[in-house]
Symmetry: C2
Subunit: 225 residues, 2 copies
Amino acid sequence: MESNRREIEVMANLLSSNDMQADVNRAYFRKNNCLAINVIGSPGAGKTTLLEKTLPMLMLNRQVGVIEGDIFTSKDADRIAAYRVPVIQINTGGGCHLDSKMVHKVLPEFSEKGIDLLIIENVGNLVCPADFDLGESFKVIVLSIVEGDDKPAKYPVIFRNAKAVVLNKMDLEALTDVNMDNMKRDIRSINPDIKIFEVSCRKGDGLGEWTNWLNQEVANYQATK
Amino acid sequence: MESNRREIEVMANLLSSNDMQADVNRAYFRKNNCLAINVIGSPGAGKTTLLEKTLPMLMLNRQVGVIEGDIFTSKDADRIAAYRVPVIQINTGGGCHLDSKMVHKVLPEFSEKGIDLLIIENVGNLVCPADFDLGESFKVIVLSIVEGDDKPAKYPVIFRNAKAVVLNKMDLEALTDVNMDNMKRDIRSINPDIKIFEVSCRKGDGLGEWTNWLNQEVANYQATK
């Protein structure tokens, strides 16, 4: 019990210190008129692929910057750099999520680039990143439908905290046992206001709707300056 | 820096206290002649489905028990209970991994059942469970190939610490961009001794080889009593 109480106390301190730094980041984004989003999903859900498919469309209207969070390797940042957007890799070196201090440290790299939209791709993990505010305007979940329709009920925290969920790999629907009605019913029972997109990054289906929505979110953010 | 040092210290204490309890669990398994394995993978990799397909074959020769780790819900334990094996659900209530104390607490539930093999299915997470010894003989990774061939290089810790990896959803290979040669080369470069199984839980392919291997591991363990 003693050790449990100590762990809880340390976790509470850690989250509270994270939240304070997140508020500083949020003020920085506001001042720079930059919408920041925190993209969360399991390993292989398709987060980086979604960015690869979204960037060319978004870059027609917006200055986009990307932060890639990974435990090791710069594989994802290398993929994104090919699109000629400013991208910074953060390696957590074992850590299972990004925190607001890691993000704060790299923000100067984006200064004077006139970024409208900063996309922060978190470490591949559906659990831990849900608890750590990075100063973003909102969280977006990427969920591969191949993971199964029971996932929202089993990982409700992130679904409760996100503004949108991108259901990816829809091209594989017929080859799996996933029940999309159950999936969407469970998502809406956890978070009735969440925006749901059904896409196939591989085939390109549904990406226009997602990109238009994100573009509009940037416009809304900048209009409330 | 101060807070970082404190976090590192608390994490070290936590892991060391976890390791001590894990050794107690290991001694308990040895005394009861029970091979314990710790099954780790992302949400939706197919851990529970692998158990569902493995249990009927294994139960011909072995007394099997199952611990289901999840953040919330007893969905997985309910699925396993249908196979009439002793199964205990551990809900971490937000925690991203099982630890040795949680496992220790439920071990009495399996006493006097003559369990040969205890399968512990961890919380869906490829990162955090890798660091927490539960007292198992070895770890097994379940990886859906749909997650992509870059996953071993991006999540090396768990591949370094596991005895076997089950590559699941092989039936979807032709419909994805996964390169199985790259996947296996990367796995072996991290851990040359790891046993690799390629299976489709949905179609049943490759499950005989996996089950025979696991059955043999129980025999080897019990022979070294």
